[in-house]
Amino acid sequence: MKPTLAVWKFSSCDGCQLTLLDCEDELLELAETVTIAHFLEATRSRQPGPYDISLVEGSVTTAGEVERIRQIRRDSRLLVTIGACATAGGVQALRNARDHAAFKAAVYPSPQFIDALDTSTPIADHVPVDFELRGCPIDKRQLLETITALLKGRKPVLPDYSQCVECKLAGTVCVMVAHATPCMGPVTQGGCGNLCPRVGRGCYGCFGPKENANTEMLAAEFAALGADRRTIRDLFGNVTAGAPAFAAERARHDG
């Protein structure tokens, strides 16, 4: 029997699931290798668990989602979280250190109908997670590598180095050193394929903090390049703002 693959959505934009559909060349082969048992973005047919591999997109932002992820964990042999929302809380985690009620009142005409938690949290805060795929969205090659490796029972090759390493492998000119552009790359885990520095932009930190991220020194360097407190706060306040290392640095530059 073919192994089963399920794809789940929590609070998210669907972009990471779309990466799976984006695997155009490999999609047919994937469909031949696994049974896609649950993937609402692609097909309405659903099969009951258990599932060999569950890919989980999105963060936990409602009480219902807390229950749902526990059930999915029980139904899944391997659970892989995909994307900045599922691994760090996503851009919606910007509300975590703020007055959520005030946000609701400012945005919605009838905030009493909004049934959401005060925080947006990563899946790993609620259930054990086997592998994390970082990114906003995730990288297609990393996704295929992970599925391929897990199907064969080997460890996926998911580097934990900084975005800077991707720059140097690609031969990209460093935007900090050569252009004085603030770049989150030195504290951000690589994996996107060097998307931003390659076109002369600073890294936005989509892949979240690398291990051992020295955010304090990088923030000091941003200041030396002329960035003010608010700019520094916002550099640490993108889609992975909820990751502890970035949230702490952001807080140091708040107010």
Binding site: S162, G171, V173, N212, N214
Partner: protein
């Protein structure tokens, strides 16, 4: 050779089947890339380099080679950042990936980068096993050195004894002599194939005054270097494997690995296996790695170097100290790339000096008691 002779040189190399590479301006920095004419070289441009900053600016004169180093040295050409080693299928027979070593002539190799190439040769071939992929790529290189007349602020080759004048290791070497309207190159051959090309270049035999001017230029360049490595650094670091300074650097270091990637002698690499979805085909790849990553020190049960302090210590002691035990030479040639291209400007010469100063401080206080 008159200054216009550079295009004759490029033509002669091309006609012998070499693709000619040189430093070219790209994204406001110097990249080592294919060139077709000497006009593509960054004439008149120099790097305003300091710790953590490398900017290209107009230089004081119209020299072709007053700039110094492209971001990457020759390492990329002989030890690519990523390469497939072999592939295999259901028969489990490994099919080696052929090395695509097209002949490349590099125009403008600096003495420190020549020394770095010697270092890599020792690394890849000095032991009982030699890397045949390295040799194929190394054999494909024709090296036209340029002796430096102007250092960047990050250079310290003089204190590493690797420059600013190349004595050997090149096919041809050039000294750029620019004096008022007179703009010529002194050309020296360092190999048989270099002599063949030299014989076909325009110009006349060098006069004693030109030879003197070239030597004087090198001496002035050495004297103008703003950085130097402390004397006896090999022993200094060995005596100070435990030192509070490692933690002090770790507060500044981002463990981003830029220094090791731009270093022309850092050779570390890792192997990665890739497989097709159905598992029928597999490939083995090699890619650059660095002692600044966590995975680098992963042994059974976990990574050994978890703290940035131990990673910085590994880098610096390997370059300056343990390389001598391993390869009988220094692992640093004084090119200064790790200083300029470190996003937070950590300076290997300053860190060594700080440790040396602490020893002197200890001796002094010891003397007083």
């Amino acid at each position: 050779m008159p200054a216009q002779g550079l295009d004759d040189l490029i033509g002669l190399l091309s006609s012998r089947g070499y693709e000619v590479w040189g430093a070219r301006e790209r994204d406001d920095a110097l990249g080592l890339m294919p060139i077709e004419t000497a006009a593509e070289l960054p004439r008149g441009r120099v790097e305003a380099a300091e710790a953590g900053r490398v900017r290209l600016v107009e230089g004081p004169r119209d020299a072709v080679f007053d700039h110094t180093l492209p971001m990457h040295g020759l390492k990329r050409l002989v030890h690519p950042a990523e390469e497939k080693l072999y592939a295999t299928g259901p028969d489990l027979v490994a099919r080696d990936e052929a090395v695509a070593a097209n002949p490349v002539a590099v125009l403008g190799v600096r003495p420190c980068d020549l020394a770095a190439l010697e270092t890599l040769t020792q690394v890849f071939e000095g032991g009982p096993y030699s890397d045949t992929r390295y040799r194929q790529r190394r054999d494909a290189l024709f090296l036209v050195a340029v002796n430096c007349m102007r250092p960047a602020a990050t250079c310290f080759c003089a204190s590493m004894h690797t420059g600013p004048r190349a004595e050997a290791g090149f096919d041809l070497s050039l000294d750029e002599l620019l004096d008022g309207d007179r703009h010529v190159f002194l050309v020296t051959a360092g190999s048989a194939r270099g002599r063949e090309i030299l014989a076909e270049l325009p110009g006349e035999a060098a006069c004693a005054a030109d030879l003197d001017a070239a030597e004087a230029g090198s001496r002035a360049c050495a004297a103008a270097q703003q950085r130097r490595m402390v004397e006896g650094v090999e022993g200094l670091l060995k005596r100070n494997l435990e030192h509070p300074h490692w933690s002090e650097v770790a507060e500044r270091c981002l463990s981003c690995a830029n220094c090791t990637m731009v270093c022309p002698t850092c050779f570390c690499n890792t192997l990665e296996d890739r497989s097709s979805l159905d598992g029928a085909e597999a490939e083995r790849w090699r890619r650059w790695d660095s002692c600044f990553t966590l995975d680098f020190s992963y042994l059974h049960g976990g990574a050994v170097r978890r703290e940035t302090a131990s990673r910085y210590r590994q880098w610096m002691t390997h370059k300056l100290s343990h390389w001598h035990d391993q390869f009988g030479m220094s692992g640093c040639v004084g090119c200064g790339r790790c200083i300029g291209w470190c996003p937070v400007g950590i300076d290997i010469t300053a860190e060594a000096a700080a440790i040396a100063a602490s020893e002197q401080g200890q001796t002094r206080s010891g003397d007083e008691t």
